[in-house]
């Protein structure tokens, strides 16, 4: 199971997650989740996707410290 998961997350992979859950295309690696209209419900979907794709379970508080695709990718890689 763990061999299917990669804890090396790329900003591009997180950009794709942000685009999907925020339903908007104008997301870059440095876009801030909350400035893009993200809220707590949408944030949980990001964290679910991260757990599924990278095997890392982050809390709300951890997410609040890394709210861009680039920042979140770094955080996942560091945690994993």
């Amino acid at each position: 199971m763990s061999t299917d998961l990669t804890t090396t997350a790329t900003p591009e992979a997180l950009v794709a997650v942000f685009r999907r859950v925020l339903e908007r295309e104008d997301v870059t690696a440095d876009s801030d989740f909350f400035e893009l209209g993200g809220d707590s419900l949408v944030a949980t979907r990001v964290l679910s996707a991260v757990a599924r794709d990278h095997g890392v379970e982050l809390t709300f508080e951890e997410f609040l410290q890394a709210t861009t695709p680039a920042g979140l990718a770094q955080r996942i890689t560091a945690t994993g």
Partner: protein
């Protein structure tokens, strides 16, 4: 009926759908009569004057930028939006049994509920998948519709949700979105409702979503202004008992008289439409055996000021225990009073509605004081029980249960001879919302005009 004086229409129901349809038909030369059972117009919109000149919405209240037909109608009527206030921290009281562990009973402040984020995310990812798969205009044609229509949301949660936090949060979310108990709605209806309202994120959100704004001065003004323009064509206190058709006309019978016309527009919730005696009878009823009333009781607690704001709190709370499963700051822009609106939904609504007015006030103000200990005693408390209202039979909207979409969906808007159907439950776009009511009225006007 369409002799010297032009065609005629009787509209049943003076809510947003009925009055918008009547206005549209009148503008196209129809002689219209609107029959309303209550002694007021507005249907599921209703205003309460909480302080002199300061109105709160006892019924439908919110809108967002995608509600384009409502915004256009408001502009025409000279009504403006006012933003909902959501500054500050939310409060969460999500321990289902605080007596078991008093240490956990305290409320929590913040942006996020004190629950497992990944578990909630898994829940919403599953709901998003169901929402994306549903056929937006014809939910009964959704792939796998038969299975999804047979399953209640409670069955689905039982099968799909493993984490206790997801099991705890799902009914609260469903109650907030649809005023339903999970046992009342099919999964197909849940997915349809979320899709119809613009998807999970849009329907749930305040800023940038379906709760972004209210109507300044109250949503009830939409109907009041429409009715003012229609003047004596709107007749109050006329509950409709029967709708009979012959070769030449349709006759609508009320408790006080009969109204004959070329067409009738029934702008009613499905459970009310089914209580009318139709001759000839309807080939398919408007509601099914499992169609339930939207289970909403709305409580307005009035305080001298919105004191929670001074403590960095938004007034928004989400609660595992009733009666107030969520609260929101609905303080009117006019005046100084603070209004905390509580939503009592699902099974809680049934319990709460059975209490006396005194018990309701005590229960609501006590819970508000636990959530917001800085609150003084409320100066007033208004309880609006939509669940048991004989001329709404529920709010926000009818809840379609197992089998309902498959059976009722294909004839949702099909005219029955001279009888046409309006009302928010006949709109697959923004079903259950004011926007859906207006869209249904525009559709029905086009249908009637197309009869030729």
């Amino acid at each position: 009926m369409s002799g010297r004086t032009g065609p005629s229409a009787v509209v049943v129901g003076a809510g947003i759908a009925g009055l918008t349809a009547a206005t549209g038909l009148a503008a196209r030369g129809y002689r219209v009569t609107v029959l309303e059972a209550r002694d007021r117009v507005g249907g599921r919109t209703h205003g309460i004057e909480a302080a002199p000149g300061a109105w709160v919405d006892a019924g439908a209240a919110y809108l967002g930028d995608r509600h384009t037909e409502l915004l256009a109608l408001m502009a025409e009527l000279g009504l403006k939006t006012t933003p909902t206030t959501m500054l500050g921290a939310s409060r969460f009281a999500l321990d289902p049994d605080p007596s078991a562990d008093p240490g956990r009973a305290a409320t929590r402040d913040g942006r996020f509920p004190p629950l497992n984020a990944v578990a909630l995310g898994d829940l919403f990812e599953q709901l998003a998948e169901l929402t994306a798969a549903v056929h937006p205009e014809a939910p009964w044609l959704t792939p796998d519709a038969e299975r999804l229509d047979a399953l209640t949301a409670a069955d689905w949660a039982e099968q799909q949700l493993r984490h206790p936090d997801a099991r705890l949060f799902f009914p609260l979310f469903l109650g907030e979105m649809t005023a339903a108990d999970p046992a009342d709605v099919s999964v197909l209806h849940l997915a349809f409702y979320l899709r119809s309202g613009g998807g999970l994120r849009y329907l749930n959100a305040f800023a940038g979503g379906a709760q972004q704004d209210r109507i300044a001065g109250g949503a009830h003004q939409v109907c009041e202004r429409l009715a003012e323009r229609l003047g004596p064509r709107v007749r109050l206190g006329e509950p409709v008992r029967a709708v009979h058709q012959d070769a030449d006309a349709v006759t609508v019978h009320t408790a006080h008289g009969s109204h004959r016309a070329d067409v009738a527009v029934l702008a009613l919730p499905p459970l009310l439409a089914d209580a009318i005696d139709f001759r000839p009878g309807l080939p398919v009823p408007r509601a099914g055996d499992r169609t339930a009333r939207g289970c909403a009781v709305k409580v307005h607690l009035v305080y001298p000021e919105p004191v929670w704001r001074d403590h960095g709190l938004s007034g928004w709370s989400v609660n595992a225990r009733g009666p107030l499963l969520s609260t929101v700051d609905d303080s009117p822009a006019e005046g100084r009073i603070g209004v905390l609106t509580g939503f009592v939904t699902g099974a809680e609504a049934h319990r709460f509605a059975a209490l006396t007015a005194r018990q309701q006030r005590a229960a609501a103000s006590e819970q508000a004081a636990q959530l917001f200990p800085m609150l003084p005693e409320p100066i007033d408390c208004h309880v609006t029980d939509w669940l048991n209202d004989p001329y709404s039979k529920g709010c926000y909207a009818a809840l379609l249960g197992p089998g309902d979409w498959s059976r009722l969906g294909p004839t949702l808007t099909t005219p029955h001879g001279r009888v046409h159907w309006a009302g928010t439950e006949t709109s697959t776009a923004y079903f259950g919302l004011m926007e859906g009511a207006i869209r249904s009225a525009h559709r029905v006007v086009a249908e009637v005009l197309a009869r030729g």
